[in-house]
Subunit: 374 residues, 2 copies
């Protein structure tokens, strides 16, 4: 099979720090990065230069940007040698670019969230299902937590009954966003034109991890949202309680509104799932080489010959954080006919629905299943 | 003032390990322990013997029990030399004994919860307010977390604005109750005839601490309850989200349903309250002498001359756990005309209402204010 021609649309922090290395990590001969698009020429050129270096190319990928009508996004999408695009653009811009790319016959991997809100997500998904999927086009959402090997490993354990019947769970993400935070200083994040601010942008990851881990489907959410640090408007904090189809329930605490760094560093952020026979925790950590890992710890009850509890066992698994690499490789595999089912837009829509529900619940239960069926 | 004659009604674990030492810690001349009542003679005699020793008495307090009609609880309450009783009896028995004691003209300090459910609590409180309070009788609920110096210290800081405007809070208690746990083996706790089991019995403490700490009144609760360890029926776990009158919100996780001890020891149980300018945490710990303390840590933002965040300060305060001692002393003070307002039955009723709401919410918001006005 000849390498697929691909392009990266967007040249922000994540395109540079995550997507480009993921493309560089692809097996040789799988893809050829042919073009970079950004609204600004400067930014696109910078990423193209970085790409030439990291991909060891003879010349940089072609640069497309809004100022040149002969080298704008439409020109890029008109190229027959580009089969697929990776989109990492501002949240509210993405849906229109996804549409454009699909209409141009490109396979698409677009960054989460699938859309800024549930209604526009449903619209886009319906359009894809009706018009583009039948043509064999792949559209996936880059939800790296969903495909992250650590969550997949933990999910297999939990769903396989390792901790017994799941009873309750807990997800906590406590962030501190200083005014000089690099993500905060992306203009579209400083004054977001979408619900939830960082809660939508970052929160969907945690929801995706829960979606993967829990044997039951999250069906009802009651919660509260608030703004605690004015520079993070409209909201920076969600507290919610959730019920799943198997009767388990949990608490989700998402906040980027820490008043000081210690509120984040000492928060013991992470996920726990507790069952009748044990519990599992998944936390961010560093391994001996200083590499970012997700550390899974499973502790399960042991019994004596009469069936009485007499202790517990502990198992620790560390998985290097590599979800973006895996998702880009998996996207290329899907284009080449080997689809493992990750990155389904409907899954990503459920993550947006969760955040939207939490932002609007004000204590009342929101039916998460109905919400994505609007 | 001559010492008040007092009696302890109940001779279980808490009467022995907490109330007796609290009586022993009273200033000399404040009270004289004259009698012990228990349903069983053996148990009452044991506590009387322990009391003689720890209070350094010439003879043990008189023993009253159910088998002897001349030395039963009515005989005890008929004694004119006994002015006040401390009641630590099974949850469902207490209200009738509180009534009996008040009717006999005794001041009463009765263990939390004020009643097994909100309705019976309201009934009892109304009866007290109508019939006994006008006679000058004191009735207090022994809710030691409410009066615990650490929570009072932390409350002063939070309510005084130390962490800025309170935005969100978190209370987590994760317990492991083995089948050989000493409290679990109190017969009335093994098969409880009241809602919530340990969640009512122990959970009201955490709710009381929040009630003291938060500047806003907790007005709405949405949550879920479940049973994860069958020996703890009817319920062992609550997950709830709460809103207060000042718009702050929080999460409460109460569980005694840990499948293994590590789920409890590694849970980072405790309370945090986060405001716009800092946060406070209160956790159980041991001090240098190995004594049980509550450790309060307050961290607040510091600003440069232009008002920009430039760091944070940390303040740690450790308070010896001594709520029961303080509450017994305060009860005697109140009898002697110096009432500091602690132990109000209505406060304790709110704690029961919280647990009852969490057990019955099933995700729907419960109005906590209305619930205590039934």
């Amino acid at each position: 099979m000849s390498p697929k021609g691909i392009a990266i649309l967007g040249s922000g922090i994540f395109a540079k720090e995550a997507h480009l290395p993921a493309v560089a990590a692809l097996n040789s001969g799988v893809a050829e990065l042919k073009a970079i698009y950004s609204r600004s020429e400067k930014s696109a050129t910078e990423l193209a230069t970085a790409a030439q270096q990291s991909l060891n190319l003879n010349e940089p990928p072609s640069v497309y940007h809004d100022a040149d009508p002969n080298a704008n996004i439409d020109a890029l999408l008109a190229r027959p040698d580009i089969a697929a695009v990776i989109i990492a653009l501002p949240i509210t811009i993405q849906p229109s670019i996804v549409r454009k790319a699909l209409a141009a016959g490109k396979h698409v991997l677009s960054e989460k969230p699938v859309a800024p809100d549930v209604a526009s997500g449903i619209e886009l998904i319906n359009e894809y299902n009706t018009t583009y999927k039948p043509k064999g086009l792949i559209w996936r959402i880059a939800e790296n937590f969903e495909i992250e090997p650590a969550y997949q490993t933990a999910a297999k354990m939990v769903r396989g009954g390792k901790v017994g019947k799941v009873g309750f769970f807990n997800a906590r993400v406590v962030g501190y966003v200083a005014k000089d935070n690099k993500y905060y200083n992306t203009p579209w994040r400083t004054i977001p034109d979408y619900q939830g601010g960082f809660l939508l942008d970052g929160g969907v990851h945690t929801v995706a991890a829960l979606r993967v881990l829990l044997p039951g489907t999250m069906v009802s959410l009651s919660g509260y949202a608030s703004l605690n640090q004015p520079h993070l408007a409209p909201h920076d904090t969600i507290n919610a309680t959730i019920q799943t189809t198997d009767g388990s329930h949990g608490l989700v605490e998402l906040t980027f509104g820490s008043p000081v760094p210690s509120r984040s560093t000492l928060a013991n952020s992470g996920i726990t799932v507790t069952g009748s026979e044990g519990w599992i925790s998944i936390v961010n950590a560093s391994n001996a080489d200083g590499k970012g890992v997700l550390r899974i710890t499973v502790r399960t009850v042991t019994k004596d010959e009469k069936g009485r509890d007499n202790g517990e066992t502990e198992e620790v698994i560390e998985e290097e954080v590599r979800g973006v690499k895996v998702e880009v490789a998996s996207f290329l595999d899907a284009i080449n006919g080997s689809d493992d089912g990750f990155g389904e837009p409907l899954g990503a829509l459920k993550d947006v629905a969760f955040i939207q529900a939490a932002l609007n619940s004000n204590g009342a239960p929101v039916d998460l299943v109905k919400l994505v069926q609007q």
